[in-house]
């Protein structure tokens, strides 16, 4: 089938304002949007710029807005979209070039929740693993799946209005550690969530959950974090 691919372009070295590129490509229904982008770059315009790596939805490089919603280009097939495909960069993040946005603030928010296991107690004397029951492990399973793609944060209207908001991805990471039975750093993970950048800014708008390519129950995780803070866990 013939696909009309419309891509929002931006290159400060060439023009101060964004413009649109329109390409017509012969595509199979099973092609990924990423395949089309790669072909457009290979065959039509070498200057088309986007991030990509794994090509099967696990590295989180190619988050972008496809037909109006945030998706991974490599996990979105032509057959889901039909013959008109519009690709734009994520919202709320500074566009560096074409589909590439500045992820640094996003990652700074991620780092602000101290996304690592905090437990300075002595390790088990036999040097073996810290014990954790299957139920305790299951408690935070969902939020371990995050690949830091940014789809969720860039879909959140609160984040659009205020880029200081840490965003759902960072809260998902806080959840990952807050509910790990081995973790002792609840206060440290949540310290960055208490002020105006933090978790209370979430208005449960739910766009994050709908855009997560890993199908993480983000709003639910955020609600659990809020509840943990309110109840002192």
């Amino acid at each position: 089938m013939l696909v009309a691919l419309k891509i929002k372009r931006f290159d400060p070295e060439r023009k101060p304002a964004a413009w649109w590129s329109n390409y017509k490509l012969e595509a199979a229904p099973g092609d990924r949007v990423l395949d089309l982008l790669v072909r457009a770059k290979d065959e039509l315009d070498g200057s088309l710029t986007f991030r990509r790596s794994c090509a099967h939805g696990i590295c989180g490089s190619d988050a972008m807005r496809i037909n109006g919603t945030n998706r991974l280009a490599c996990k979105t097939l032509v057959r889901e979209l039909g013959s008109r495909i519009t690709v734009e960069p994520l919202l709320g993040m500074r566009v560096e070039k074409d589909l590439v946005v500045d992820m640094e603030p996003f990652l700074a928010s991620y780092r602000s929740v101290k996304p690592y296991l905090i437990n300075d107690e002595p390790l088990p004397a036999d040097g073996r693993e810290r014990r954790q029951s299957p139920a305790e492990r299951l408690r935070f399973d969902d939020t371990t799946k995050c690949i830091l793609c940014g789809c969720c944060t860039a879909a959140c209207p609160v984040f659009w209005a205020d880029g200081e908001y840490v965003g759902p991805a960072a809260i998902v990471q806080a959840h990952r550690f807050l509910f790990d039975s081995r973790d002792r750093g609840a206060g440290e993970h949540t310290a960055a969530l208490l002020d105006m950048k933090g978790v209370w800014r979430c208005r449960t708008i739910f766009q994050c959950t709908l855009s997560c390519p890993r199908e993480i129950k983000i709003t639910q995780a955020i609600a659990e974090v809020k509840q943990a803070i309110v109840l002192g866990k």
């Binding site: 099973g30 315009d45 090509a55 693993e129 299957p134 935070f140 690949i147 830091l148």
Partner: protein
């Protein structure tokens, strides 16, 4: 103006190997990690199955058994001193990850849960053993995340989205690397006492591969171009069950749960090739069988794929589920959630209702930069290159020999990443501070500038596609002298055409086109090294199968291949031919035997 940075140690690559090394080198060493992608985008994150360690949490297990499996799995081309280290230290490495927070699956009593995996046995091959530690089918993701999290905790310095072009070697001593900051196009020199290469695989030289777009072996090519040898490049693993055309991996677990493969005639063709183990035969054997079916015109609709069938009714009819049990769709969905999702997303097929088209997919480079057991890179005379280290898939220790076992790559990253990190720190402690280097990396920077200005008729995409198809067709599963000679001449022709590339992007910022061109140059060199090494080895062993020499030949070939680029160094691909040397295999415990399963 090129910016200059000085560190004690620099690590190129933020995958499992690089991050593990960073965490172990860090104490007392001023270290920086440079990566062309954000660390969490590294390909380690895609690993599914698990990481082996004889923890014995489920049943008795011993490191000796594990070592034996690794040696036999590698068709006896494994260095047994290294395999012993791998088997012994895997336990510590896995427990260390647990202590750092890795969310392993758990047993009822709270220990790390383990499962069976292809080729891992108890008591030297008697029966399967549960050795693979895992976190559902997201083990690699968890490893990568956990390591990066701990790097954040320790405040390790990262240079993300810096593309390293070339190694700086002066008088045979590693002095640093040259890199481009992708966002700005600014060039940087990183000078250091010690340099660790951990840049992962280079499967993108093939048309159908499970490897990421970014796996182009840039630094492996750089080492090669600097006149250093590459080891065992002919051994490239093809995983039997890749999604048709896309190459996306469908883990062995699908067959472990009873899935079978059928050809275009509806036959369960593995009955022909491996009557006992059938669909659970080793990867190299199955991949080759699929290829033979396709060549015989028995692919589905005469095309180049066969079916993987995990429909419950098929499994039950063939009684192929473990223990001859019957299974239901719900059970399969619970056991293989991610794989089933991938089939649904990428093929639009419900695997509970229809079989799924599959095709072998280029998966893992057993060969690479030769190192000793502490990650020290070995030069031409097999003596270490001062200051140069390598670990992970880009290195060849060699613990995988001619064929890697499932789960063993992750162990390799952890164990040898750790050891090389420590060795680097030790080296730095004894070395004098990095001095400024004269004329550093001029060649690489000039090559990049040349590419950026090139306005010839050739397209990066077209050349890349030609190389990939040439490699898959002629240097894939079945190799012949004729085919490989043809491949060499195609590759040399492509290298010639590479001199006449034309690029559209003249900008400095985020110019991925010029970087892709540079990557292509690297892949062309590695493709040639792979092809020439494969042509050189006139036997069949593990993943390397030659129709014209179908038998293993221990008398002549029980040694590693070392390939050198003949002639001068340089930063672009050139056609100057390749010369060979050999490295003996370390055999300490297990004498080579016929490899039967």
């Amino acid at each position: 103006m090129t910016q200059v940075h000085t560190f004690d140690a620099i690590i190129i690559g933020a995958g499992g190997a690089g991050l593990m090394a960073a965490l172990h080198a860090e104490r007392g060493t001023n270290v920086a990690v440079i990566s062309k992608m954000y660390p969490t985008r590294s390909h380690t994150g895609t690993a599914q199955g698990g990481v082996a360690a004889p923890l014995g949490n489920m049943e008795e297990d011993r490191w000796e058994w594990y070592m034996y499996d690794t040696v036999k799995g590698g068709d006896y081309l494994v260095d047994q001193d290294a395999a012993e280290i791998l088997a012994r230290e895997s336990v510590d490495a896995v427990l260390e990850l647990e202590h750092w927070g890795l969310p392993f699956d758990r047993t009822e009593d709270g220990r790390i849960e383990q499962r069976r995996f292809g080729g891992h046995t108890r008591d030297f091959g008697k029966s399967p053993v549960m050795r693979s530690c895992k976190s559902a089918d997201r083990t690699g993701h968890m490893i990568l995340q956990t390591l990066y999290q701990n790097c954040i905790r320790r405040g390790i310095r990262f240079f993300d989205e810096f593309f390293v072009l070339d190694l700086i070697l002066e008088d045979g001593i590693a002095r640093g690397v040259a890199a481009v900051e992708i966002a700005t196009g600014q060039t940087h020199l990183f000078l250091a006492k010690a340099v660790l290469l951990a840049t992962g695989g280079f499967g993108r030289m093939f048309a159908v591969t499970s490897n990421a777009h970014s796996l182009s072996g840039d630094l492996v090519a750089s080492v090669f171009r600097r006149g250093l040898p590459l080891e065992d490049m002919e051994f490239f693993q093809f995983h039997p069950t890749g999604i048709y055309k896309m190459g996306i991996l469908l883990s062995e677990a699908a067959r472990g749960e009873g899935g079978i493969m059928i050809n275009g005639l509806g036959e369960r063709f593995m009955e022909r090739y491996a009557p006992t183990l059938l669909d659970l035969a080793p990867r190299d054997i199955i991949s080759r069988s699929i290829d033979q079916e396709i060549r015989a015109g028995r692919g589905v609709d005469g095309k180049d794929y066969v079916y993987l069938d995990i429909r419950p009714e098929t499994i039950n009819r063939c009684q192929s589920a473990p223990g001859g049990k019957t299974v239901t769709a719900a059970q399969l969905e619970a056991k293989l959630p991610d794989i089933i999702e991938m089939m649904r997303v990428y093929q639009g097929i419900d695997p509970m209702k229809a079989p799924v088209p599959i095709q072998p997919t280029a998966h893992y480079a057993m060969g690479g930069i030769p190192t000793d057991c502490d990650g020290r890179v070995l030069g031409g005379s097999l003596s270490p290159v001062p200051g140069l280290f390598a670990a992970g898939e880009c290195a060849c220790v060699s613990v995988h020999g001619a064929n890697r076992l499932g789960t063993n790559s992750l162990v390799d990253l952890l164990v040898f990443g750790r050891r090389s990190g420590r060795a680097m720190a030790e080296f730095c402690a004894g070395a004098s501070p990095a001095d400024p280097v004269a004329h550093a990396a001029e060649e690489a920077l000039a090559e990049l500038a040349r590419l950026q200005r090139s306005r010839g008729p050739e397209r990066v995409g077209a050349l890349r596609a030609a190389m990939q198809h040439c490699m898959t067709d002629k240097v894939g599963l079945n190799r012949t002298a004729g085919g490989m000679e043809e491949a060499l001449s195609i590759l040399r022709d492509l290298k010639e055409r590479y001199r006449h590339l034309g690029l559209a992007d003249a900008g400095q910022k985020w110019n991925t086109e010029v970087l892709e061109a540079y990557e292509l140059g690297c892949l062309l060199d590695l493709a040639e090294a792979t092809t020439a090494s494969a042509l050189h080895r006139t036997e069949s062993r593990g993943a390397h199968f030659r129709e014209d020499f179908p038998k293993r030949d221990d008398a002549n070939w029980l040694h590693h291949t070392l390939a050198f680029r003949a002639g001068s160094s340089g930063a672009g691909p050139v056609s100057e031919g390749i010369r060979f040397d050999r490295r003996p295999v370390s055999i300490t415990t297990f004498q080579p035997e016929a490899r039967v399963y």
